[in-house]
C-alpha cells in the first residue's frame, strides 16, 4: 500500500448521481484482487478519506476505474475534479475476493447499488478463469442503473429495481436464481442487503464485502471493526479495512 498523487484520466457521469473515475498511477500495479479499495482524499476541506472500491484495473493503461455515487458532501465535491488533475490516493487497501481459491464452475454475484462496482472486476477475473457468472444487480430505479451491459457481456444478469422501472420490482433477494446451479456466491451492498442475502443463501459457500466508517483505512485505528461470532475465544473482531472488506459470511456478525 502506498500514498500517491494519481492522475485523473477520465471522469464522467454514467447514471443518476453516479460517476466513473479513472485514475492512473503506481497503485494500479499493486492491486492483487477484486474487492480491494482505494482511500481518497477529496480535498483539504474533508478531514477523512473516502473508501471506494476498485471496479476495474487496466494493466495496459496503468489505471484503476472507480464507480461512485454522490452520497454526501465529500463525494459531491469529488465530482468537481477534472481530467488532468491529480488526486491524493492511498491504496490498494484491504483483502479482496480470493479469486485464486475459487475452483468450481458456477458463481452468483449479488450487488446492490454502490456495492456493484467491485463485483465487475470480480466478474472479469472469474470469467477469465472459465467460471460461469450470473449476476443479480439491484438499483433504486431505472435512472440509477449502471454497468448492466458490462455485466451482460460476462454472463447472465438479473436486474431488480425498488420501484419496478426495470427488471424485477423489489430487492436483489427477490430475484435470486435457482440455487442448484450455484457453487459460490459473492455479494456487496448495504449491510441490510448482505444480511438478507446471507440468510437466504445459508448453506451456499459465499463471500461478502462489507462497508464500515473508517478512520485510517489501513488497520491502525480500530474504527472499522466488526464482531466475529467467536468473540469470546479468539481475537473477537475483524477490521473491515485490513482484514476485509471481504469476509466469509460465517466470519462476521452483521448488525
Amino acid at each position: 500500500m502506498i500514498r500517491e498523487w494519481m492522475t485523473i484520466i477520465n471522469h464522467q457521469l454514467i447514471a443518476s448521481q453516479t460517476y466513473l473515475l479513472e485514475i492512473q498511477g503506481e497503485i494500479a500495479t499493486l492491486v492483487d484482487s477484486p474487492g480491494q479499495f482505494v482511500h481518497i482524499q477529496v480535498s483539504e476541506q474533508y478531514f477523512l478519506r473516502r473508501p471506494v472500491s476498485i471496479a476495474d484495473v487496466s494493466p495496459v493503461k496503468g489505471t484503476i476505474t472507480l464507480l461512485y455515487k454522490v452520497m454526501g458532501e465529500g463525494t459531491d465535491a469529488l465530482t468537481h475534479k477534472k481530467a488532468g488533475e491529480k488526486i491524493d490516493i492511498v491504496g490498494p487497501g484491504g483483502k479482496g475476493f480470493p479469486v485464486q481459491d475459487i475452483n468450481n464452475s458456477k458463481a452468483l454475484l449479488i450487488g446492490g447499488g454502490i456495492g456493484i462496482p467491485p463485483l465487475y472486476f470480480l466478474a472479469k477475473q472469474l470469467t477469465a478463469k472459465g467460471i460461469e457468472v450470473t449476476s443479480v444487480l439491484g438499483f433504486r430505479s431505472e435512472e440509477d442503473m449502471f454497468y448492466v451491459k458490462e455485466f451482460e457481456s460476462l454472463g447472465k444478469v438479473h436486474v431488480t429495481t425498488n420501484d419496478g422501472t426495470v427488471g424485477t420490482k423489489g430487492f436483489v433477494t427477490d430475484a435470486l436464481p435457482s440455487l442448484e446451479n450455484i457453487d459460490t456466491y459473492f455479494t456487496c451492498g448495504p449491510t441490510i442487503m448482505l444480511r438478507n442475502v446471507k440468510e437466504k443463501l445459508k448453506g451456499v459457500p459465499g463471500y461478502i464485502s462489507i462497508e464500515e466508517r473508517m478512520g485510517c483505512g489501513i488497520g491502525a485505528c480500530f474504527a472499522c471493526v466488526l464482531e466475529t461470532p467467536a468473540k469470546e475465544d479468539g481475537k473477537g473482531y475483524v477490521k473491515v479495512c485490513s482484514d476485509g472488506p471481504v469476509f466469509r459470511p460465517e466470519e462476521v456478525v452483521l448488525k
Binding site: M1, F47, R213, I218, F222, A223, C224, V225
Partner: protein
C-alpha cells in the same frame, strides 16, 4: 539540532505518533522505516482485552474528527506478547499508553509494562470514550494525584500523564500530577464532542459522544500548553491537530518539548516521516538552530 532530551527518553527528533492513531506500528511500517521516529506512542493497554464500542466509531467534523473507539486492545498481556516484539528491532523508544477504570487497573497495567522493555509510560487519565471511570481521573485533581503516585510506586520508568482538555482548570490538574511525581505531561487528549445526523436524527457515533481531534482543537491545545508551561516545571509532549512543521514550531514556542501526531496519520500515512524530513528547514526558516532553542520561545 533535532534531538531533545526528555526524562528517560533521548529523542533523535521531537516527533512521534500519538497513541491510538498508529496502532502498534505494524501498518505504518509498510509506508516507511519506523526507526526514523523520535519515539512511538502505542495504543492504550488495559488489564483485560477489550472489544471497545459499537460502530460507527468515527465521524468527520470541520477540520477534525470524532472518535469513540472505546480503548479496544488485546489486553496488556496480549500487547506485550503479540505487539511489542514487532517494535523492538526499530531504533526508536517506545512509550506505552496505560488506561484503566480503577486505580488498581492502572497499577497492574503500568507494572506489567514496566518489565516489558518499553521506555516510558503515558498514563491516559483522559480517555473520554469509556463509560466507567477513565475520564474521571483526568478531571479530578485528587484522583489524578492518586493515580500518578501509585503508578510511580510500581514503575521505574518515566511517567508522562496525559491530560484531558475537558476541564475548567488545566493548570490545577497539571500541578497535582507534578506534586505526585509525574516526569512529564502529554497534552492534550480529545475534546468531548458529538455530531448528529439530521437524516437518522441520531448521533453518528454509536457511543453518542466521541473525542474531537484534528486542527479544530489546536488553538485549545496551544492555549493549555502555554498556560501549563508557565506554571508547571514538567516537560510537555504537545499534541492536537498537528499537520505541518509550522504547527510543530508553534507547539515548541508554546512550551512543548516534543510533539505527537495523531489523526493526521489518517490523512497522510507518511506524515510523521515527512515532518521529520522537513523540520530542520522549518526551524532554520524561523531562525532556530535547534529544537531546544525554540521550546517555550513564546514566553517572554
Amino acid at each position: 539540532m533535532m534531538n531533545v532530551k526528555l526524562p528517560g527518553l533521548d529523542l533523535k527528533n521531537p516527533i512521534m505518533p500519538a497513541s491510538g492513531c498508529f496502532g502498534f506500528g505494524k501498518e505504518f511500517a509498510e509506508f516507511y522505516d519506523l526507526s526514523v521516529l523520535g519515539a512511538i506512542i502505542i495504543k492504550a493497554s488495559t488489564v483485560e482485552k477489550r472489544f471497545g464500542n459499537q460502530t460507527p466509531r468515527v465521524a468527520e467534523t470541520a477540520s477534525g474528527m470524532l472518535n469513540a473507539i472505546g480503548l479496544q486492545n488485546p489486553g496488556v498481556d496480549g500487547v506485550i506478547k503479540d505487539e511489542l516484539p514487532f517494535l523492538y528491532p526499530f531504533k526508536t523508544p517506545i512509550i506505552a499508553n496505560v488506561a484503566g477504570s480503577t486505580i488498581e487497573e492502572y497499577i497492574t497495567v503500568a507494572h506489567e509494562l514496566s518489565r516489558s522493555g518499553v521506555h516510558a509510560l503515558e498514563i491516559n487519565i483522559s480517555c473520554p470514550n469509556v463509560k466507567e471511570g477513565g475520564v474521571q481521573f483526568g478531571t479530578d485533581p485528587t484522583l489524578a494525584y492518586e493515580v500518578t503516585r501509585k503508578v510511580k510506586e510500581v514503575s521505574n520508568l518515566p511517567v508522562y500523564i496525559k491530560l484531558s482538555p475537558n476541564v475548567t482548570d488545566i493548570v490545577g490538574l497539571a500541578k497535582s500530577v507534578e506534586e505526585a511525581g509525574a516526569d512529564g505531561l502529554s497534552m492534550i487528549n480529545t475534546l468531548t464532542g458529538m455530531k448528529i445526523d439530521p437524516t437518522s436524527r441520531k448521533p453518528i457515533i454509536a457511543n453518542q459522544t466521541g473525542g474531537l481531534s484534528g486542527p479544530a482543537i489546536k488553538p485549545v491545545a496551544i492555549r493549555m500548553i502555554h498556560q501549563v508551561y508557565k506554571e508547571v516545571d514538567l516537560p510537555i509532549i504537545g499534541m492536537g491537530g498537528i499537520e505541518t512543521t509550522e504547527d510543530i514550531v508553534e507547539y515548541l514556542l508554546a512550551g512543548a518539548s516534543a510533539v505527537a501526531i495523531g489523526s493526521a496519520n489518517f490523512k497522510n500515512p507518511n506524515v510523521c516521516k515527512d515532518l521529520i524530513d522537513q523540520l530542520p528547514d522549518a526551524l532554520k526558516k524561523f531562525g532556530f538552530d535547534s529544537v531546544e532553542e525554540a521550546i517555550g520561545g513564546a514566553h517572554y
